[in-house]
Symmetry: D2
Subunit: 257 residues, 4 copies
C-alpha cells in the first residue's frame, strides 16, 4: 500500500485560505445568457481552504471533477463549487476560469458579419453555504481624445482601449449583456471586418463622440448603476495611447452593499 502523505496531521496550527491547482489549460464548452453553447479553451484556477489539522490537499481530485464537467457557465458554477467542497472535504471553494469568448457582430453600415473576441473570466466563491458569482469582461473599444480634438485644427488622436467590467452577479444576466454595457460607451465600437462604408462610419462616429479615459469609466458606471442584476462592480478603462508609449487609466469601484 502506498502511503497518503497529504492526509497526515499537521501540527503547525496554521490554516490555509486557498490551495489547489493554477494555470490549467482546458477545453471548455461555455453557455451564454441566451443558452447557446460555445467551444473555447479556458485557463483555470481551482482552490479550497485547508484546515490547520491537515498537511495537504488532494490535487488530482480537482482534475477528476473537471474531467466529469460537461459545460461551464454562471448557471453551472454553484453546482461545481458544491461538488468541489464535497469531494475535497472543504468548507470553502474558489473556481476561476478565463477564456476567449466570441460574438458575431454585424458591421454598422454594410451589416457584414464577423467575429469579435473578448477575454472573459467567471469566478465562483463558496464559503459555507454562501455562493458569490463574479464576471469580468475585457472589451476593446476605440477612444478619441476630447482635448486633442478641441485644440487641433483637424484630426484627433485615438487608439484601442480596453474597458474592463468586473461585476458581482445578483440576477440572471448573460456575458453578452455585460459586454454590451461597455461596448456602446466607447467613442466607437471595434469590429473584425469593416468595409469602406463601415470604416467611414466608425471614423466619424469616434470623432463625434470624443471621450477621455475618465469619460469611459463614468459612462459605463452610469449604465451599471441602472442594472439591477449587478450588485457591485469595478469598471476600468485603459487607453493604449497613440501619442505615448504608456497607457492612460481610470477606475471606478462600487462596493457590493
Amino acid at each position: 500500500m502506498i502511503v497518503d502523505v497529504q492526509g497526515r496531521a499537521d501540527t503547525r496550527r496554521i490554516p490555509i485560505n486557498r490551495v489547489g491547482i493554477k494555470d490549467l489549460a482546458y477545453p471548455v464548452r461555455v453557455k451564454n445568457g441566451a443558452g447557446e453553447i460555445q467551444s473555447t479553451v479556458a485557463t483555470l484556477n481551482m482552490y479550497v481552504n485547508l484546515p490547520e489539522s491537515f498537511k495537504g490537499t488532494h490535487m488530482s481530485r480537482f482534475l477528476e471533477i473537471l474531467h466529469a464537467t460537461s459545460e461551464l457557465s454562471l448557471a453551472s458554477l454553484p453546482v461545481l463549487l458544491e461538488t468541489v467542497t464535497r469531494r475535497l472535504e472543504s468548507n470553502d471553494a474558489y473556481i476561476e476560469a478565463t477564456f476567449p469568448y466570441f460574438v458575431a457582430k454585424a458591421a454598422p453600415v454594410t451589416g457584414v458579419r464577423s467575429m469579435m473576441d473578448y477575454r472573459v473570466t467567471i469566478v465562483g466563491k463558496r464559503s459555507g453555504d454562501d455562493t458569490e458569482l463574479t464576471v469580468r469582461v475585457v472589451v476593446p473599444v476605440t477612444s478619441l481624445c476630447p482635448s486633442s480634438k478641441d485644440i487641433s485644427q483637424y484630426g484627433a488622436h485615438n487608439q484601442r482601449s480596453h474597458v474592463t467590467i468586473t461585476a458581482r452577479i445578483a440576477g440572471e444576466i448573460g456575458i453578452d449583456d455585460i459586454i454590451r454595457i461597455a461596448e456602446v460607451e466607447g467613442s466607437a465600437e471595434v469590429f473584425g471586418i469593416l468595409k469602406r462604408a463601415d470604416e467611414k462610419y466608425v471614423t466619424e462616429h469616434a470623432y463625434d463622440h470624443p471621450k477621455f479615459v475618465e469619460d469611459l469609466v463614468r459612462d459605463v458606471a452610469i449604465r451599471l448603476n441602472g442594472e439591477p442584476r449587478i450588485s457591485g462592480y469595478v469598471v476600468e478603462a485603459e487607453n493604449f495611447e497613440s501619442i505615448h508609449n504608456h497607457s492612460a487609466y481610470a477606475l471606478i469601484e462600487k462596493p457590493v452593499p
Copy 2:
C-alpha cells in the same frame, strides 16, 4: 490660447477612484534597506482620485514629477505621494513600481558569488493624511515533493517555485530582509552560479527538506507572524510542477489589524 479641456466642470456627479498613467517604463535608482543604490528599470502606475466636479486629470504632471525624482524606495515613497497629491490637487494618491531587483549571493559550498534576480513591487497609497506602504517580492526557490519522496524507492520530483510575499510595512525593513524570509523556507535556495560541490549540496538539501506548496506558505507565514515590522500579509506559493503542465498553488492571508 489653447483651451484646458481636462479642467472643465463635469455634471455626471460620479467621482473617480483612480485615474492616471499605467505601464510606464522608467529607469530608476532603488535604495535597499542597507542604504545602497541599485540602477534598474521599473514599470510604473501612478494614480490619483478625481472628484465628481472635474472632467479630467492632468496626465503629464505625473511624468514631470517622476522626471524630478532622483530615487525610489520605501523611505522616499511618502514624499513622492505628497508631491503627487499637491501637484494634481487630489485627496488620494497611488504609486506602484515593479522592477527586477538583484542580490549578489554566495554559493553554499564554494562561496562563488553570482547575481540573483527577484521581481519586486513597492506600492504607496495616500488617502487624506494616511499613508500605507506595501512591498511584494517574488522569490524563486526549489521545492521537492514529500509525497513523491515517500512513495518512491529513489528520487523525488522537484521544480522551481515562486514564493510571493505581499507585506504591509509597519517599521523600517529592507527589501532584502523580506526576500530572505521566503528564500530560506524553500526545499533549497536558487542561485545564479553553482559549482559541482554546490550542486551536490543543494540537491541533497532539497531531498532532506521536502515541502508541499502547503508547507511553503505555512513555514513562511510562521516567520512573517514573528516579524513586528510587517503588520499584515499575503503569502503565496506556486510550484511549476515538473510532472504536470499546471501549477500547484497555496495562499495564506493575515489581514492588517
Copy 3:
C-alpha cells in the same frame, strides 16, 4: 462612391515581402492525423506579398476568407493558401495558426485518463506554385539532471522542460505523431492526473533516465532523422532549471535538403 485608396498606384518601387493581419484570435476546428476534429482557439497571422506597383493590400479579405473556412489542418492549408493568393491577387501567401491542442492521455500505471495541452503552430507558405508546410509543437516533459544524480548521495534536481520540434512536412503525418517523438524522450512524460502509483512510477522513471538538455535534443534528433515524413527540422529543449532562475537550452538544426 467611396474611393479605394489601397488600390492606388505606388511609385516608390519597393515591393513588400509580407503584408496582412497579425494576432487575430479566432475559434477554429482542427483536424488531427486520425481525422478527428477538435474545437480550439487560434491566434492567426495571414500575409501576402505586395508588388511594388500597389499602394496597399485589402486587409478585410483575409477575414472574409477565414470566415468561410470550416476547419484548419495540414491537409486543408494548401487550399486555403491558394484561396488567399487568388482573392488577394498575390503571388505568395503565408498562413500561421497557433493554438492549444489537447490529447487525452492514460496515466502510466492506473490508466486514469486526463487531458494534456500542447502549444501547436501550423505554417503554410505558398510561393508561385510551391507550397511548404511546417508544424511546430511545444511538448512539456520532465528532465532530470545526470550530473546532479551522479554527484549527489541521494536525489537529483529535475524540472519541467519544453521540447520544441519545428518540422518541415514531407508526407502525411499527424500532430499527435510529432508530439510523441518529443514526449517519449523526456526523463519522464508529463500528465494531467497522476494517482499515487503513477507518481511513484514517473518519479522513479525520471531518476532512471537522467538527461541533460543536450541529451534531449540529441535523442529527439535521432528519432526525427529516422522519420521519412519530415524532411528538415529544428529541435530545441529548454529546462526551466529548478536550481537556477534561468533556463538551460539546446538546439539542433537539420536543414531541408
Copy 4:
C-alpha cells in the same frame, strides 16, 4: 573528487548547433554610439556549439564570463564572443541581449524633455574567425490611416504602431541612429510628455502624414537602403488597429549580400 559528467565522451555522433543559458536577467551597462553609458536590465541568451564527441557543455562558465564583463555594446561584443569560445572551448558562439533603452527627447513645440523607452536587442554571432553583429530596435510611433482620412468627412483612425528594424551592422553606428531611422517615418513621433501645444502639433502632424503599414515599411526601407553602415535588414511595422482587435502588419527584407 566530484566527477565531471558534462566532460564525458558521447557516442551518438550528433553535434549540437547551440547550447547554453537562456532568459537570464542581468543588470548591464550599455554604451550608445556617442559613448555614453546607460544602466539597464537585460535578458540574455548565451550559446556555443558542441561537437559530437562531448556529452555536455559547462553552463556555469557563461555566468562567470558575464560576471567579469563591465559593459555591453556593439563595440564590446566581439571581445565577449572571443572570450566565450575560448573559455567554453567551442568553435561558435552566440550572444543575444534584449533590454529597455532610454532616450531623452524634447517635445516638438515646448521642448519639454522626457524619457522614451525602446526595446533593443543586440546579437553577436561568431563562427570560426567570422563575427556578425545585428541590432534590433522596436520603435513606437503613431500611424494614421490614409483610407480612413480620405473616405471620412472628418477625423481619421490612428493608433500606436511598432516599427521594428533588424539590421546587420557593417560600420560604426549607434543604437540611437537606428531608432531615428524608424521614428521619423511614423505619421507622428511618440513622446513621454506632451504639453497642450505639443499635443496639437502631433495631432495635426499625424493627420498631415497619413501612412498605411505598407507605407511605414517602404519609407523606412528607403532610408535603410541609403545607409552604408547597414548591409542587410528586416523592417516590420505592426499597427495595433484602433478599429479592430487585431494588428495590421508588413515586412520588407533586404538580405545581406
